[in-house]
């Protein structure tokens, strides 16, 4: 496999000396005898927006779930940086299909705040502020599950917002949305980024990756083929698989 053309560690030039945020070492995941991820070595810098690209079935969502801790790897390690105080980083995840609790939109946010340990009397104010930020204030008392797909995804983003995440994972957050809702989600990603959240996102939409990514992790058949700055990736990917993927010849 001479497709591995880059060291899988890439740090943005702005912060060459800073501690990496996340280090995956020799990560592998097998399920029922099938190897779904293999020999994943990946280092993420403290800042920026990483988009994990790859054809269907490459293991993009799985990689994110392992990093977020929703699944335990069958081999290798996931190592997160901590705050200077030793407090673990706060993480949140937005799923492809938003999971809405059977409660009002506002109560969905209050629940997340309660899970984060925010005092009862502060929850309502914080939740309302987040709903307003995402243009959902008028829907506060509506049951979350009767909202439209786009509104639900925005609510999922607002719910992640109240968690004030250091790291935000998004798993194909726009794949089921119309262009307007997709735009709202992408705007939200920028907002999170501006507030200092580290963004890690999967996508199979090349245009979206072009718009959002600072760096690209290109995944194929459970392996990292390359991890390069977005500009370099789209301009001149260094692996043949990535070239095929960009030209539409690599089908999952």
């Amino acid at each position: 496999m001479n497709d591995f053309c880059q060291p899988a560690t890439w740090l943005p030039p702005a912060s060459p000396t800073s501690e990496p945020l996340l280090r995956l070492a020799g990560l592998g995941f097998s399920h029922r005898g099938q190897t779904l991820l293999k020999d994943i070595d990946l280092t993420l810098a403290p800042r920026g927006r990483t988009v994990i690209l790859g054809p269907n079935g490459a293991g993009k969502s799985l990689l994110m779930r392992l990093a977020h801790g929703l699944l335990a790897p069958t081999s290798g390690q996931v190592r997160w940086a901590t705050h200077d105080s030793g407090r673990p980083l706060r993480q949140a995840m937005v799923f492809q299909r938003p999971v809405m609790l059977r409660r009002s939109a506002l109560a969905n946010l209050s629940y997340a705040l309660a899970a984060r340990g925010v005092a009862w009397r502060r929850r309502r104010g914080l939740a309302m502020a987040a709903l307003e930020r995402f243009g959902l204030a008028s829907l506060a008392d509506r049951p979350a599950r009767v909202l439209s797909g786009g509104e639900q995804q925005r609510l999922a983003l607002a719910r992640a917002w109240v968690l004030e995440p250091d790291v935000l994972f998004l798993d194909e957050p726009t794949s089921a949305l119309d262009p307007a809702s997709m735009r709202a989600v992408e705007d939200a990603v920028h907002t999170f980024h501006d507030q200092g959240s580290r963004i890690v996102m999967t996508s199979h939409d090349l245009n979206q990756a072009r718009r959002l990514a600072d760096d690209i992790v290109f995944l194929c058949e459970g392996r990292i083929i390359e991890h390069t700055p977005a500009k370099a990736f789209f301009h001149a990917p260094c692996s043949q698989l990535a070239r095929d993927f960009l030209s539409g010849e690599l089908l999952g």
């Binding site: 929703l70 993480q91 995840m93 999971v99 997340a112 899970a115 984060r116 049951p143 599950r145």
Partner: protein, 234 residues
């Protein structure tokens, strides 16, 4: 059949005239069955949720037993409680046999498996949907339990109503452990059986009508709760 016609009229006048005997029997029936459902729900809801959330060796056996006990014949439940509470039984010293408390215990035994098994089904479905999101929030299984029970609240209300239906309609268990003592442990179902065999069709029919109305009310409520949930929560 003129006899039945007369009995029907007499039954109606008993109900409409709020006959004290009939009223006493109906009241005791409701007290016993509601208490049994309360006990069944207090144990069955967390038990069912726990069986959905935690894996442990022997869980399959427990779930199978619960499902089997949903069809436990009331007379067998009554017999089991009788054996426990009778003078020679392990709990004989409490002197509970032939008291309303014994009837509550017997009916709880009938209601508990229904509530626990159906709660497990509902919570499991919800947990499959919520698991990753709650895990992402950092919510432990223990903390997820009340959340899931709350989010399944409408489904669980119909489960509890089903339990109440079973408790209020059974004869065998309350007959064996209660003894159908007039004014003490006589409830609607046992009274109907007795009065019918004595030929006192008016009281039997009156109680039958009340019981029928109660069952209709329970089912109607269950239906409305389900509809409301569908409309409100999507």
């Amino acid at each position: 059949m003129p006899d039945t016609d007369n009995a029907f009229q007499a039954a109606l006048s008993l109900i409409l005239g709020l006959d004290p005997t009939l009223l006493g029997i109906v009241t005791l029936s409701l007290q016993v069955s509601l208490a049994a459902v309360l006990v069944g729900a207090l144990i069955g809801l967390p038990l069912g949720a726990a069986l959905a959330l935690w894996q442990f060796p022997g869980r399959g056996l427990v779930v199978t037993l619960l499902n089997a006990f949903m069809g436990l014949p009331p007379v067998v439940a009554g017999l089991l409680v009788y054996l426990m509470l009778s003078r020679a039984g392990p709990l004989g010293g409490l002197g509970l046999l032939f008291t309303p408390t014994a009837m509550v215990i017997a009916q709880s035994l009938l209601v508990l498996p229904i509530i626990a098994a159906l709660t497990r089904d509902h919570v499991l479905t919800l947990w499959d949907e919520y698991r990753e999101q709650l895990h992402s929030f950092g919510v432990t299984r223990l903390r997820a339990m009340p959340s899931l029970l709350w989010d399944a609240r409408f489904a669980l209300m119909t489960v509890i109503l089903a339990g109440f239906g079973r408790a209020s309609a059974e004869v065998g268990a309350v007959l064996i452990v209660g003894g159908n003592i007039d004014g003490v442990t006589r409830v609607m179902t046992t009274a109907i059986a007795l009065e019918t065999s004595k030929g006192n069709l008016a009281l039997a029919l009156g109680l039958g009508l009340v019981l029928l109305g109660l069952v209709a009310l329970v089912n109607g409520t269950a239906y409305l709760v389900g509809e409301r949930a569908r409309r409100k929560l999507g």
